[in-house]
């Protein structure tokens, strides 16, 4: 009975979601031109319409994805991921770790216990790092927002390049044999294992709802701020405004974007509306992609947390390898497209 009831609630919510989502373009026009009585063609109207359309759209997409991923994640616990990675050879292990990084739940405050748990259980250092790079960088929220706002090509591009960087960076660090740059006490610590609780479908569905409440409740403000910045650029910045500073010809904009992105730490959901506006005003795709990955994948707070288990030299190599990977991707796409 309980299963039926929770499935029914999900079904009704989904139907409502699609109905409301379908009416969003009409609604934003109604708010802009009928409620606020702005005249069409002005900067203000264009900015307001962008905001009125994008904010409910992005928030709704976000809620849908977070719900789905919340359920999916109940199948991929860190314990199971570790089990799958234990004793894997470097190359194959790096690929698997990058992929598992997408779906395994991860929060940067758990980076240290996770790192210790993996390494002491015999997961190779490079493979562990592939996981730690992929988990924040290839973000399922970013993926779906990109899909919703730009279509599948850019979403796939982001997925592919993120996985490639996580794979290569972890593999390179593995080849450099840097185990001695992990703090000694890590290998001495004992990693136990936890018995996993058995989950039923209603449990998994309620985990999905909890994820929506938790994540949407936490990031909605960032999303709205991001959209406001996006709306401003959309309405007021002249067409091709960014061509000279973020366009293809400005090769230096790629490394600069990466450097600016490291201390900037935003949630993936907050950065994407900004990305949308940047692209629209003539920034090159490679540069924007590099900027976005640097903001969400390389963060100062996470690096500081990892310093507890990694010696400065390994931290430097980590930042260097991932940063160069992101830059390479940026150059590559500016050059191809």
């Amino acid at each position: 009975m309980k299963i039926k009831k929770s499935l029914l609630i999900v079904l009704i919510s989904l139907i409502l979601w699609f109905v409301v989502y379908g009416f969003l373009p009409l609604l934003s026009k109604f708010i802009t031109y009928d409620v606020l009585r702005l005249s069409a063609g002005t900067h203000l109207a264009s900015a307001v319409e962008f905001f009125a359309y994008d904010s409910p759209k992005v928030l709704m997409l976000l809620a849908l994805v977070v719900f789905g991923v919340g359920i999916l994640r109940t199948f991929f616990t860190p314990q199971r991921t570790r089990q799958m990675l234990m004793g894997k050879k470097e190359f194959v292990g790096n690929i698997l770790a990058s992929l598992l990084g997408i779906v395994t739940p991860f929060c940067s405050c758990s980076a240290v216990p996770l790192f210790i748990g993996f390494v002491t259980a015999g997961v190779p250092l490079g493979v562990t790092l592939s996981f730690l790079i992929s988990a924040p960088m290839v973000n399922e929220i970013a993926l779906v927002l990109l899909f919703g706002l730009f279509g599948w090509k850019i979403a796939l591009l982001y997925l592919g390049t993120g996985l490639t960087i996580a794979f290569i960076a972890g593999w390179v660090i593995g080849c450099l044999h840097m185990e001695k740059y992990v703090e000694e006490w890590v290998y001495k610590s004992m990693a136990g294992s936890v018995e996993e609780e058995k989950l039923t479908w209603p449990d998994r569905i309620s985990a999905g709802w909890m994820a929506v409440r938790d994540i949407v409740g936490k990031v909605w403000l960032f999303v709205l701020m991001g959209i406001a910045v996006g709306a401003f650029i959309h309405g007021y910045a002249p067409e091709n405004f960014l061509v000279s500073i973020m366009g293809k010809k400005a090769w230096w904009s790629v490394p600069v974007s990466v450097l600016i992105g490291i201390p900037l730490y935003s949630n993936a959901a907050g950065i994407i509306p900004v990305v949308q506006a940047l692209l629209e005003k003539g920034a090159a795709l490679g540069t924007v992609l590099a900027f976005m990955m640097s903001v969400i994948g390389l963060s100062l707070p996470e690096t500081i947390i990892l310093r507890k288990v990694l010696k400065p030299r390994l931290i430097a190599v980590f930042l260097g390898v991932v940063g160069s990977g992101i830059m390479l991707i940026g150059f590559l796409f500016n050059w191809i497209l």
Partner: protein, 77 residues
């Protein structure tokens, strides 16, 4: 009952401590609540996701910010 909360001091861990204290108070049970911030000890429990809740040496929840009602359910089991 001995309750331990494992976490390195992130906002979620602090909230879990507050919720646990509330649950203990509402149930009017005698329990000793301890914070465990030492990474070594956290990993020795096999916990890879913080915050985690440990009751009498058994890990009952990891990586979740449980609310007071959920904690009460665990305690009364």
């Amino acid at each position: 009952m001995k309750i331990e909360i494992l976490g390195t001091g992130c906002p979620k861990c602090k909230q879990l401590i507050a919720n646990t204290e509330a649950a203990v108070k509402e149930l009017a049970i005698t329990a000793e609540i301890a914070k465990v911030t030492d990474i070594d000890k956290i990993t020795s429990y096999g916990v890879m996701m913080t915050p985690a809740l440990v009751v009498d040496g058994t890990v009952v929840s990891t990586g979740k910010l449980l609310n007071t009602n959920e904690i009460k359910k665990i305690f009364t089991k």
